[in-house]
Assembly symmetry: C2
Homo-oligomer: 458 residues x 2
């Protein structure tokens, strides 16, 4: 009898795991449960669907249920797994539309439930007109809201990547938009100097940014709909629509109930092959924790690119192959209001928390040769370990063609290169692409000088 793989969750991680396992082992029975309406879609694309830059929902979907079925995967849409029985090796499921329920046995199980949006425990949070932005259905709900003429004022709670992307999308639709964030600068994963530049760019687009102020309550009208956001400092921000962009946490409820161990970070604990500590159970995507290669800590990073890679690794291993996921180094990128920003490695705060002592430098340059038409400003900051000069982190902020340079620095960090080694790298140069010293090399040179100066003082 052929073996059976059950996959919980049909988005990036689950879909990749199912596909890879089936591809490697043709006689494997693969059943994939998805409680939503879509499989393998780009959640990161939702803001652009909302703004109208992307026209239809279908283009966000990389692989439809029918495409998965054509590859031999038994996809059960709108079907939620409500329990896992590790002892009997079965999952309990429920059809969300028809109401039917049943169990499905497994030999291998992939836990790919993703994440759940953070919801602050404040009065009014469950009112109509308060939306998260996480799954495709959230996007559809938001689009429906935004097409109503009565929606003119939007308050976005949380100034992280997604919050700002949604704020920009709403602004592009001509609405009045306010972003509220507890921190002094938005996108807390960046150092404050980068965050300040982002705040400035967002404000220039006519978006109101309220910083250092949290959400205390959501005021609800007689119709049961949210009508204002009240901040901790007492400001009242009128809102026809409230969007929660406070980030996500791993969806581990089912795992906890079943007894699949979590890690120190709160995500499902997995080894390098994406095996959980429960026999026959694998996990991948936003719900798992990963090893941070610089801090040595376990971290939860909800990003489609990790989900895809982790799903692939789980699938290959389940299909009889061998693959590992080697961890993360905190690379991220965003474009908000024509400003590009990216980071890799540790931020200053993270580096300190990890016990590193370091020097920090920043340089201003241009994306092309200074004299070349279309050269745009780019700022590169780096932190390098004292004495060794090892690159620990880098952040880039600038205009078009600035931020994707972070990949080069991510690979330097991955290989534990020192800024001294980096400044000698054979990187590409031609006037339409960079100054003769690429901005990342100028930064490395300056960081090297700072490391040397520091050594002389030691």
């Amino acid at each position: 009898m052929s073996k059976r793989l059950v996959v919980i969750g049909g988005d990036a991680a689950g879909g990749s795991a199912a596909s890879q396992a089936k591809k490697r082992q043709r006689d494997l029975d693969v059943v994939m449960f998805e409680r939503g309406r879509a499989t393998s879609y780009s959640a990161c694309g939702i803001p652009y669907w909302i703004s109208g830059a992307v026209d239809d929902e279908a283009s966000l979907v990389a692989r439809t249920p029918d495409e998965h079925r054509a590859a031999g995967i038994d996809v059960r849409m709108r079907t939620e797994v409500v329990g896992i029985d590790l002892e009997r090796q079965v999952v309990h499921w429920r059809d969300l539309d028809g109401g039917a329920a049943g169990t499905e046995p497994y030999d291998d199980l992939v836990y790919a439930t993703g994440s759940v949006p953070m919801r602050p425990p404040v009065p009014g949070i469950d009112a109509a007109g308060v939306h998260g932005v996480q799954v495709l259905d959230d996007g559809a709900a938001l689009r429906a809201e935004l097409s109503r003429d009565s929606v003119r004022r939007v308050v976005v709670v949380g100034g992280g990547y997604i919050g700002l992307e949604i704020a920009e999308a709403c602004r592009m639709r001509g609405l009045d938009v306010t972003v509220v964030d507890r921190s002094a600068t938005p996108v807390g994963t960046f150092d404050p100097d980068v965050g300040a530049q982002i705040a400035e760019a967002v404000r220039k687009e006519g978006i109101d940014v309220v910083l250092s102020d949290g959400v205390a309550a959501i005021e609800v009208g007689r119709d049961g709909r949210a009508r204002a956001v009240v901040t901790a400092s007492g400001r009242e921000l009128p809102a026809d629509l409230v969007v929660l962009g406070l980030g996500v946490r791993p969806d581990v409820r089912l795992a906890q109930e079943a007894g699949i161990p979590l890690g120190t970070s709160g995500g499902v604990a997995v080894d390098a092959r994406m095996r959980t500590r429960a026999e026959g159970v694998w996990a991948a995507g936003d719900c798992v924790e990963s090893r941070h290669r610089l801090s040595g800590q376990r971290v939860v990073v909800a990003l489609g690119t990790h989900a895809n890679k982790q799903g692939r690794v789980a699938g290959i291993n389940i299909g009889g192959g061998y693959a590992t996921f080697p961890g993360v180094i905190g690379t991220a990128i965003t474009r908000v209001c024509n400003l590009e920003a990216a980071r890799t490695g540790l931020s200053s705060v993270e580096a300190e928390a990890a016990g590193y002592s370091f020097v920090k430098v920043g340089v201003d340059s241009t994306t092309k040769a200074g004299y070349f038409p279309g050269a745009e400003p780019i700022h590169v900051s780096m932190i390098a370990e004292r004495r060794s000069g090892r690159l620990l982190g880098a952040q880039i902020v600038g205009r078009e063609a600035a931020a994707k340079r972070v990949d080069a620095l991510a690979i330097c960090i991955w290989n534990e290169m020192s800024v001294d080694e980096i400044l000698s790298l054979d990187l590409s140069y031609a006037p339409p692409f960079s100054p003769v010293w690429d901005p990342v090399l100028i930064a490395a040179r300056k960081a090297f000088e700072a490391v040397e100066a520091d050594v002389r003082q030691l």
Copy 2:
């Protein structure tokens, strides 16, 4: 008495060496000889000055003679060094305008003479109306020619980077342009498939491209000006102006005459600190040979980015510091007629010549998420060593935002990463910047599969 540094050549390498040495050792006497009209300028910017994209000559100059002088460097413009006496440690110079001559003693000497353009030894090559494109004066001469109404038809001999960039510049000025190249595809440093795409893009801009055909002669009119290029196959290409874009060779004449040893490649031989084999003589820039980190061979690569780095290294060492130039891996980038192309590591031909056995793959993807507005095509090819899967070379061709990704792969090659390691890298992802699997990761994944398939067959 303070020591004296003499620098021959005031462009990228010489200028950097002089600046760094003076900066490190304030009491050093530094004399820099430059036979042209400018110091520290961007020769790579000349095509854009010719096209008109860059307005004035001054913007191509990174550091003027007066700026060098303000930093304490004794700059002798329009002054050619005509001989080096290693025994007596002096150079002989000649003022090109006034005719004065003299000698200058040195304790350290930097040989940074750059390169000379290749000139095919064919009849008519020295006629009026035949120009090289190498130094700023060449650019000025070409601009003067192009502003004459009688110049309508331009033939560019050589389809390398510079040849094509000049061809495009002339086309942008509304001229009839033909490029002639001996090879079957232009830009011979690229694999033929990339070269073919470049040829297509160039032709689409209305530039005639004649391939697999060399130059046999230049026909000269009664006025002494070139009037046509005659190819080896007998074609006659009418020309009011002929531009030579056949590449350059290191300018080693003075070195040879003085007895400064050359290396196997024909460039001046230097060690890691940029010391030649002659006592007290250093060299940097287009005139030296570098170690290719993959082939192990010595190669001459004429690129401003290497010249700057090598000059810096020589200057630091002369100034009492310690620095090395660790070699090159063949990274290059160009934009021609809206097509971007880049390479790093070894091409297929180079890898074979170096004795490597490898698999080659190519993938087509997009520069942003496929659904994102402005996503452009990108093609990434990779060659990976058999068994080890070590990345040996990569080439990228595509539209906007495609080619600069080569830096990421250059750093992978620099660190001797295998395609297996590469596909797991934590690279940046957001829909405005890449698909969820960045094109370079997709290529690495495919290369890994090819390596695995090859191993199974071994």
